[in-house]
C-alpha cells in the first residue's frame, strides 16, 4: 500500500521540540553542574512516576503526529490519487477503534445500542427493541449468558499479558543498566508500571471486541476520541511555550539588563497586553483567524490542514498573550543579576553586552524558564477545554478534550444519562494535568535553590 507522508505545521513544531529536548539532554549530560538538579528529580518517587505517565501520553501524541495519506486504488491519468483523509501512525495502530463505528450512543462495554429501534425478525414481525451492536460484543452468541465471562476473561488475560511484558522489560533494563536496581524510586516506578500495564493490557484486549468507553452520538468509539485528543492537548501545552519563549526571554532579559528607555518600552508593551482580559484578547484574535481562514479556503487542500492551521494559530495567539508573566519574572531576576560582581567584572573587562547576556545572564535565568514552562503546561491544557467551550478554541473537527466536553455537555440531560463521553474526557484530562502538576512540583523543588518563592508563578 503506497502512501504520501504529510507534514502538518504542528507536526513539524512537535518534532522540532523533540529534537531540541534531545539536544539539550545530550548537552546537559556533559555538564555536571547542570546535571545535579536532574539527579534530584531522578531520585524522587513522585517525579519518576509522573514522568512515566507523562511519557506514555507523549508516546501517543508523537505517534499521532506522524501523518500520511493513503493512495486510492484507482488512478487518474496514470497519477496516483491520495485519499483526502489524513491519517496518522496512531490511526494505523488503532485502526479497529477508528473504523468500528456504531449507529449512535452505546454504553461502555455494551452489547446493545443505547436507543430502541424497529427491527424485522426472522419471521417477518416488527419488534421495537435495543438492537445488537455491529461490533461491540458481536462475537457473543448469547450476550445474557456469555457477556460477563467473556469480559472478565479478556480483562484478565490482557492484564496478565501486560504484567508479563513489564516484568520482562524491567528484567532487561536491570540486565543492561545494573545501577537501576539500586536507584531509590525504582520500586515505586515498577509498581506504577505494573499497574498501568495491567490496565492497558486489559483495555487493549477488551478494545478488540468491545467499545471500552462506549460510543458517542455518531457512534464513534470514545476511547479512540480520547486518545486522539491527547495530541491536541500536548501540542497546545508545548508549542505555545515554544512561541512564548523567545518573546519572554529576549524582552525580559533585555528590559532588566539595559534598563532606561528599553525597559520603559518593554514594560509599556507588557502592561498593555496584560491589562486586556486574556479570554477576550484570545477570542478577538481567534475570531480574526477564523475570518481569514474562512476567506481563503483555497489555501488548504485537506480539511486536516485547515484544522491544523487553526490549531497553530491558537498556539501562536496563546503564546503572544501569555508571555508577559514570564517576562516580568525574568526582568526582575536580570535586574538582580546585573548587579552581581561577575557581571560587573565582565563589564569592566569590556565584554560586549551581547556576550554578557548570552554567556552570563541567560544561563543563570534558565531555571526560571524551565520551571515556568512546565507549570504553564497544565494550565494551557485546561485552558484549551475552556476556550473550546466558549467557541474560540480549536477547530470543531479537531479531536480535543474541549470539543468532547462541548459536544457532550447536553447529554447529561438525556434519560438514561449518557455520561461516558464527559467522564472519559475529564478523566484523561485529569490524568494528564495531574501528572504534569506533580512533575512540575518536583522540578521546582529540584531547581528551587535560587528561585524567588514570593513571586506568584
Amino acid at each position: 500500500m503506497s502512501f504520501l507522508p504529510v507534514m502538518l505545521w504542528t507536526d513539524a513544531l512537535v518534532f522540532l521540540l523533540i529534537a531540541t529536548a534531545i539536544a539539550s539532554a545530550w548537552w546537559v549530560r556533559r555538564q555536571p553542574h547542570l546535571l545535579l538538579p536532574w539527579r534530584r528529580v531522578a531520585q524522587s518517587r513522585v517525579g519518576m512516576v509522573s514522568l512515566l505517565v507523562l511519557s506514555l501520553f507523549v508516546l501517543v501524541g508523537v505517534l499521532d503526529s506522524l501523518h500520511y495519506r493513503v493512495a486510492l486504488p484507482e488512478k487518474s491519468n496514470g497519477q496516483t490519487v491520495y485519499a483526502p483523509e489524513v491519517l496518522s501512525a496512531f490511526d494505523y495502530l488503532a485502526d479497529g477503534l477508528r473504523t468500528h463505528t456504531e449507529k449512535t450512543y452505546s454504553a461502555p462495554l455494551a452489547v446493545y445500542l443505547y436507543a430502541k429501534e424497529s427491527m424485522e425478525m426472522a419471521d417477518g414481525k416488527v419488534v421495537r427493541d435495543y438492537p445488537r451492536l455491529k461490533y461491540g460484543g458481536a462475537q457473543l452468541a448469547d450476550p445474557q449468558r456469555d457477556w460477563l465471562g467473556d469480559v472478565t476473561g479478556r480483562a484478565l488475560t490482557g492484564a496478565a499479558a501486560g504484567l508479563l511484558a513489564v516484568l520482562l522489560l524491567a528484567g532487561a533494563v536491570v540486565k543492561v543498566v545494573p545501577a537501576a536496581k539500586k536507584s531509590k524510586p525504582m520500586f515505586a516506578v515498577l509498581v506504577t508500571a505494573l499497574l498501568i500495564a495491567a490496565v492497558l493490557g486489559a483495555v487493549a484486549d477488551l478494545a478488540t471486541a468491545y467499545h471500552v468507553l462506549g460510543t458517542d452520538k455518531v457512534g464513534q468509539d470514545v476511547l479512540y476520541l480520547s486518545l486522539k485528543s491527547i495530541r491536541t492537548g500536548l501540542v497546545i501545552g508545548t508549542v505555545t511555550t515554544l512561541v512564548m519563549l523567545p518573546f519572554a526571554l529576549l524582552l525580559g532579559v533585555a528590559a532588566g539588563y539595559f534598563r532606561g528607555w528599553v525597559d520603559d518600552v518593554i514594560q509599556y508593551v507588557y502592561t498593555v497586553l496584560s491589562s486586556i482580559p486574556s479570554v477576550l484578547l484570545i477570542a478577538a484574535a481567534v475570531l480574526m483567524v477564523q475570518v481569514v481562514i474562512g476567506m481563503h479556503a483555497d489555501w488548504f487542500d485537506t480539511a486536516a490542514k485547515r484544522a491544523d492551521v487553526r490549531l497553530l494559530a491558537l498556539c501562536l495567539i496563546l503564546g503572544v498573550t501569555s508571555w508577559t508573566g514570564l517576562c516580568r519574572l525574568l526582568r526582575g531576576e536580570t535586574l538582580k543579576l546585573r548587579e552581581m560582581e561577575y557581571i560587573q567584572a565582565a563589564q569592566a573587562f569590556g565584554v560586549s553586552s551581547f556576550r554578557i547576556l548570552m554567556r552570563h545572564i541567560v544561563p543563570n535565568v534558565m531555571h526560571i524558564v524551565l520551571i515556568s514552562v512546565v507549570m504553564d503546561f497544565s494550565a494551557l491544557v485546561l485552558a484549551e477545554a475552556v476556550l473550546s467551550y466558549v467557541g474560540v478554541g480549536v477547530d470543531p473537527t479537531t479531536n480535543s478534550f474541549g470539543n468532547m466536553i462541548n459536544s457532550a455537555r447536553l447529554e447529561m440531560a438525556r434519560e438514561p444519562m449518557v455520561w461516558w463521553s464527559l467522564a472519559s474526557a475529564f478523566g484523561f484530562m485529569l490524568l494528564l494535568v495531574l501528572a504534569a502538576n506533580l512533575f512540575a512540583d518536583v522540578l521546582r523543588d529540584a531547581f528551587d535553590s535560587r528561585l524567588n518563592r514570593t513571586e506568584n508563578s
Partner: protein, 325 residues
C-alpha cells in the same frame, strides 16, 4: 502620595490608547468594514450600493486612521478609529449590532454579575486563607501532606468539571436548587447559591496551596522565633504575626482582581444562565459582535489598571513602611 497616584493615572492613558490601538488593529485590519457589511447583510442582498449604505448608516464610511481629505485636526478626528475607539475614553460605547446601547446593557448587567462574583470572592478568600492556615498549623504532619495532595488533585480538575458535576449532583440528582436561571428579590438566593459554592470550590486547590507557601515562608523568619521564645502560643503566632506579615504578597494577588469582579465570570454565568456581563461577553463572541467585544476589552483594561492602583494604595494601609512616591 497624591502626586504618585496622579502619575499612575496619567500613565493609564497611554496604556489604554495602546489597548485601543491593538483591538482596533485586530478588528479592522483583518476584517475590513466591507467584510463586516457583507456579514451583516447576509449573502443574498450584497450589492456595492448596499454595502456603502450599511457603512454610512453604521459610521464605517470613513478612513481607518488618517483622513487625508480633511483639514487640521479633522485629519485625525474624522476617522473610524476616533469615532469608534476614542469615544470609549468617555465611556461612550455606542450600540451593539442589534441596536441596543452597550452602556445601558453594561449598567443593568453589572448587578447580576456582582451578586455572584462578590460573594464568591469574599467566601473564597476567607476559606482559602483558613484552609492554608490550618495546613501551616499542622505543617509537616500527615494532615498537611494530605491537604497539599488534595490541593494538587483539586487544581488538576478542569473548571468545567466543577460546574457540570455540581449542576448534575445538586440540581439534577438531589433537586436542591434550580439548574439555572436568575430572579429578583430574596427569591434569587436559590439561583445564586450553587454558582457561588462551585466558584469557591473550583479555586480552593490552587489558592490554598499558594497561600500555604506564603505562610510557610513567613513562619521561618526570625520574628516568629522571637515571638515563640516570648511564649506566644502557636495560634497567636499564626494569627497575630504571620497573617499580618503575609499581607503584602496576599494583597498583590487579591486586590488587583477586585475591580474585575464587575466583569463577572464567563463560564459560570453562561452555564447558569445568569444575565451578567460574563454571559454578555460570551454571547457577543458567539455572535461576532465586535462593538460589544471591544467595549468589554476596554472596560476590562480600565478595571485592571484600577486594580493595580488599588493594590499600591492597599500596601500603604497594611504596611506603614511603604511610602508611594
Amino acid at each position: 502620595m497624591i502626586a504618585y497616584l496622579i502619575r499612575r493615572m496619567l500613565y493609564a492613558i497611554p496604556v489604554l490608547i495602546g489597548v485601543n490601538l491593538l483591538t482596533f488593529a485586530l478588528f479592522f485590519v483583518v476584517n475590513t468594514p466591507d467584510d463586516m457589511a457583507r456579514v451583516q447583510l447576509g449573502i443574498k442582498r450584497v450589492t456595492p450600493e448596499a454595502i456603502e449604505q450599511w457603512k454610512q448608516r453604521h459610521g464605517y464610511d470613513k478612513p481607518l486612521l488618517y483622513n487625508a481629505r480633511a483639514a487640521g485636526m479633522d485629519r485625525f478626528t474624522d476617522t473610524i478609529f476616533f469615532d469608534k475607539s476614542a469615544s470609549m475614553f468617555v465611556f461612550d460605547f455606542g450600540y451593539s449590532d442589534d441596536g441596543r446601547s452597550i452602556s445601558r446593557e453594561i449598567v443593568t448587567r453589572m448587578g447580576p454579575s456582582l451578586s455572584i462574583a462578590l460573594p464568591t470572592f469574599l467566601i473564597g478568600l476567607v476559606s482559602y486563607v483558613t484552609f492554608a492556615l490550618l495546613m501551616t498549623l499542622f505543617r509537616a504532619t500527615a494532615l498537611d501532606i494530605v491537604g497539599v495532595t488534595l490541593c494538587v488533585v483539586l487544581m488538576s480538575i478542569s473548571g468545567l468539571f466543577y460546574i457540570i458535576g455540581g449542576q448534575f449532583l445538586v440540581s439534577k440528582l438531589w433537586h436542591w436548587v434550580p439548574i439555572s436561571g436568575y430572579g429578583g428579590g430574596f427569591d434569587n438566593f436559590r439561583f445564586v447559591l450553587l454558582p457561588i459554592v462551585i466558584g469557591v470550590a473550583s479555586g480552593i486547590g490552587a489558592s490554598s496551596r499558594w497561600y500555604r507557601t506564603i505562610f510557610l515562608e513567613e513562619i521561618g523568619k526570625d520574628y516568629v522565633r522571637t515571638a515563640r521564645a516570648k511564649g506566644v502560643s502557636e495560634l497567636g503566632v499564626l494569627f497575630r504575626h504571620v497573617l499580618k506579615n503575609a499581607m503584602i504578597p496576599i494583597l498583590t494577588g487579591v486586590v488587583v482582581v477586585i475591580p474585575l469582579l464587575f466583569m463577572g465570570s464567563l463560564l459560570t454565568e453562561s452555564f447558569f444562565g445568569i444575565p451578567g456581563l460574563g454571559s454578555y461577553t460570551i454571547d457577543a463572541i458567539n455572535a461576532q459582535d465586535f462593538s460589544v467585544v471591544r467595549a468589554m476589552v476596554f472596560l476590562g483594561s480600565v478595571l485592571y489598571i484600577a486594580g493595580l492602583i488599588l493594590t499600591d494604595i492597599s500596601y500603604t494601609l497594611v504596611d506603614p513602611r511603604v511610602r508611594l512616591s
